[in-house]
């Protein structure tokens, strides 16, 4: 057999296809998780820090980061009235795959059953300068279902002087109810000097963060509560709050993942009583 060029087999040989299938069932007053994973994805023991009805799950990426051609498939299914909060154990890192420029991909699907509530709060994703990252998520909401999620991105390792003028984040999130799209967010950040510096795009800000709550039309007062949190907590970043179709949206563009995170957590604490009727309890893994 003739030798295959190393460059041809390298991505295949090195790439991971991690999988997580998480199903949550409500049994009596308790939400029970059923978990199937494939390395490098793992799930820690479930926690119930706020009582039995809400299951807190921590996803773990044991390889420490993703490179080009890696794929993570995440399937989440909440049966009727189940409540789950999913977070990750640590920041995700997307390494540059120069010169191949293959994307690291995430394919996610969540189905949230009638009366069920899924909270998706991963820790931040650090996309190294030159890296290509393509997350794609579809969320299907049954009538009366709730999805709340955030996405915190750091573009380039700022501390090392990186600016995101090379590389690409192409992310697609669609939230549907009865096959109707409530919110679709097709974002392409194709690194270039123009995109990095333009106020229309990044305005030289390496941190982008988004929180969305879908499932019901928020009252104006709730939008104003989220704004009040921003006024209190954000010094440097640009931020805003608006209503989606059946939802609330917060966006932040700035320099600090800590600042973004502090605001989004505060918003979560504000809005949670409106969709779950109880106060937010932060997952243990956040308490550092």
């Amino acid at each position: 057999m003739t030798a295959v060029q190393p460059s041809a087999i390298l991505p295949q040989a090195q790439s991971w296809h991690g999988q997580a299938h998480l199903t949550y069932q409500r049994q009596g007053a308790k939400t029970i998780p059923l978990v199937e994973t494939q390395a490098p994805l793992k799930v820690q023991q479930p926690f119930y820090p706020e009582g039995s009805q809400a299951c807190h799950t921590v996803l773990l990426h044991t390889a420490g980061g993703m490179v080009g051609n890696d794929l993570l498939s995440i399937n989440i299914s909440l049966e009727a009235d189940a409540e789950a909060l999913i977070t990750t154990a640590a920041a995700a890192k997307i390494y540059s795959d120069h010169p191949q420029q293959l994307p690291a991909k995430i394919l996610g699907h969540a189905q949230v059953g009638p009366g069920a509530c899924l909270e998706w709060f991963p820790q931040e994703t650090i996309v190294f300068e030159g890296a290509h990252y393509h997350p794609q998520w579809r969320i299907d909401l049954a009538p009366g279902a709730t999805w709340v999620g955030w996405d915190i991105l750091r573009l380039g390792r700022t501390a090392r002087g990186e600016r995101f003028v090379r590389g690409e984040v192409r992310s697609h999130l669609g939230v549907f109810q009865n096959q109707q799209p409530l919110w679709i967010d097709p974002q392409q950040i194709l690194g270039s000097e123009a995109l990095w510096s333009s106020p229309q795009a990044l305005d030289e800000c390496p941190v982008l963060a988004t929180l969305a709550w879908l499932g019901r039309q928020p009252e104006v007062a709730w939008v104003n509560e989220a704004r009040a949190c921003g006024t209190d907590l954000i010094q440097r970043g640009t931020w805003g709050v608006t209503r989606l179709q059946q939802g609330l949206l917060c966006r932040y563009r700035g320099h600090s993942t800590t600042e973004a995170r502090r605001w989004l957590e505060a918003v979560w604490h504000q809005i949670r009583p409106h969709y779950l009727g109880r106060s937010a309890v932060s997952p243990r893994v956040w308490q550092r």
Binding site: P181, P186, L190, S198, Q200, D203, T242
Partner: protein
């Protein structure tokens, strides 16, 4: 293929559709420009040109224009389900409440106008689009197809009238001189043509944009204390 210039009737219809005198209320929207000027992000003609060039190069106006063409073709093929699908898609993609309301208001006004001009013309319009929620880009595509306009000129005219409207907002708000506004529009001829060509080549799975500046400006406009514009 040799591109034929539009016929005289088509040219007249294009001019009418692009005209700022078209009574659809476009002049009352700034799409975040008012907020950017208020915050000191846009202070002169150059900054406005830079903003508009960025939107044309990568912003959500590209998605609007791409979907406008899809509505155009769907109307030609009498495909109501596809019209509905793209209308829902646009409503879901607009991530600021003011921008979504703007698109619905202008779409509703344009459909009403076109229906008044030619009552039989819109007989095939799906009921869902007759209700309150037809996006402007969908209504524009339907009108262009109904008036049998050439596709590539239609997309250019769609982008040009959007650009001219925001320049007009800038002229009133920065403020800029009328001549400066016109100079700006001529300066944007290349970005307009590039955008028009690129958008015609976009497949459905290439419909992505980066408009963080617009999203934030639109959200901040909602709470701006003193406002002349509705977006």
């Amino acid at each position: 293929m040799v591109e034929m210039p539009p016929s005289a009737p088509a040219l007249l219809s294009l001019l009418q559709l692009a005209s700022p005198a078209l009574p659809i209320g476009a002049y009352s929207y700034s799409e975040g420009i008012e907020s950017l000027i208020h915050q000191g992000q846009i202070t002169n003609a150059n900054a406005l040109a830079h903003w508009l060039t960025g939107e044309l190069a990568r912003g959500t106006i590209r998605l609007e224009a791409a979907v406008m063409m899809r509505a155009f073709r769907a109307w030609q093929q009498q495909d109501g389900a596809t019209l509905d699908m793209w209308n829902d898609w646009l409503s879901a993609v607009r991530d600021g409440e003011e921008l979504r309301n703007q698109s619905w208001q202008m779409g509703r006004s344009l459909l009403r106008l076109v229906g008044d001009l030619d009552p039989a013309g819109l007989a095939a319009l799906p009921d869902t689009l007759r209700s309150e929620r037809c996006n402007f880009a969908i209504a524009f595509g339907i009108t262009a197809a109904l008036w049998q306009l050439p596709q590539s000129e239609t997309i250019l005219v769609f982008l040009q009238s959007w650009t001219a409207n925001l320049i007009s907002a800038g002229v009133r708000l920065v403020p800029l001189g009328q001549t400066e506004g016109q100079r700006l529009l001529r300066q944007l001829a290349d970005p307009l043509q590039q955008a028009s060509q690129q958008i015609q080549g976009l497949s459905d799975d290439q419909l992505f944009a980066c408009s963080w500046g617009l999203s934030l400006a639109s959200m901040n406009h909602e709470t701006q204390y003193s406002r002349l514009f509705r977006s």
